[in-house]
């Protein structure tokens, strides 16, 4: 994960598959956060404790998710240093078989 994205998922990393279309994506991450520990499938929404100046410890919402930013790249969002296991299906997300 490298650059800022949004408040819930402040970092992202791109996966270039270069298939020329948007494949079906399966992805997983290991959670060790407030109320959840273990491997979960993406997308995930979870909570963790965070120090907020002037407030103290707060429970804040976080996401780990992804999007196809074009036909060749998938962008994964999450926290810094998060590892994500990805399985891409050769089938496209649109018209995987017959319309």
């Amino acid at each position: 994960m490298s650059a800022p994205a949004n408040d819930d998922a402040p970092y992202y990393k791109d996966l270039d598959h270069n298939l020329g279309y948007k494949p079906i994506v399966r992805a997983f991450t290991y959670m060790n956060a407030y109320s959840v520990t273990g491997w979960r499938q993406l997308p995930i929404y979870y909570y963790e404790r965070e120090w907020v100046d002037g407030i103290g410890f707060a429970i804040v919402g976080r996401t780990v998710t992804y999007e196809h930013i074009n036909n060749n790249t998938i962008r994964f969002y999450g926290s810094q240093d998060r590892e994500i296991a990805v399985q891409l299906f050769l089938e496209p997300r649109e018209d995987a078989w017959y319309e």
Partner: protein, 312 residues
Amino acid sequence: MNNPILKVARPGLSALSADDKDLAFSSDWATPKIFMQTNSNWTNTLGYVPSFLGFRQLNSDVPTTFLSPFNSYYKNGGFTTSHYCHSVPSYMGDQIGSTGITFNYANNLLVSPFYDAYTGSWEDEDAFALLMLEPIDGTIPTSYTLAGGEVALIVGDGGDARTNFPSENAIDSRFDTFKIFQTGTLTMSLSSETINVGDGDSVYTESVEHNLGYPPVYLPEAGVGMRPRTQTTSGLGASSSFVVNDILGLGDAWEEEPILDVYVDSTHLYMRYRRQEQFSSTSYNAMTITLYYTIFYNEIGESFNYLNEDYQ
């Protein structure tokens, strides 16, 4: 010498010229091997974490929102026990952290229906996991005792089909795999509208008929109670067209924002969109919601364990 490649073309296509994505099968690519479907916890004997899918069985207690019936925002979702969806986060979600489908710190499977941890006012009817041999973490075993009997094997891109662990082979007839029943596009076109206080919610539903007679596995991994991220960038009531497959993650949202549900029963795949009445008059933009769906022959809720002969 490399292993030969077995390709099977779809009707009307040539295996010699079709793109791999258009083939019915190619041993060049791994095929998911489903070894278990269960609604129970499972002590993992594989030594690694396998790939999985999770599903929820809903019921008439499940709300549209994450809040309990004691909160003024609570609205009944209108679901029944015939409705199933993916076990992915929704804004029913404060309490969902430890529920759903998880491979825990010891790599064992935990299957736990979503519920309201605050009040206990609602709980899903059941939860189901579909497990595949393909690993997401850890190392596949070099030896493993599987159920005996006759088996058809097709080697993948390396090794010997007879000694490979099954996840390394392209085909192993001891296990199930995904079989696509139908692919298509479901589109919902919404007009602009203004919802005044007292009007109630506007609820729209589109569906596709499959008539399989059971709730089928489907993609994308969309569930109920979703608040599409694209809605959250412009504030309450604002909305723009989106593709469901692109917005499976969730972002910060207000309780009053529109809710997207994707779920199946034994006859249909449904996409439902709810524009909620708010505390003041709210205008919604005209928009189009697109869902690229794939329905499989595989049944949600089926139980089996092909790792051994002890069928459940």
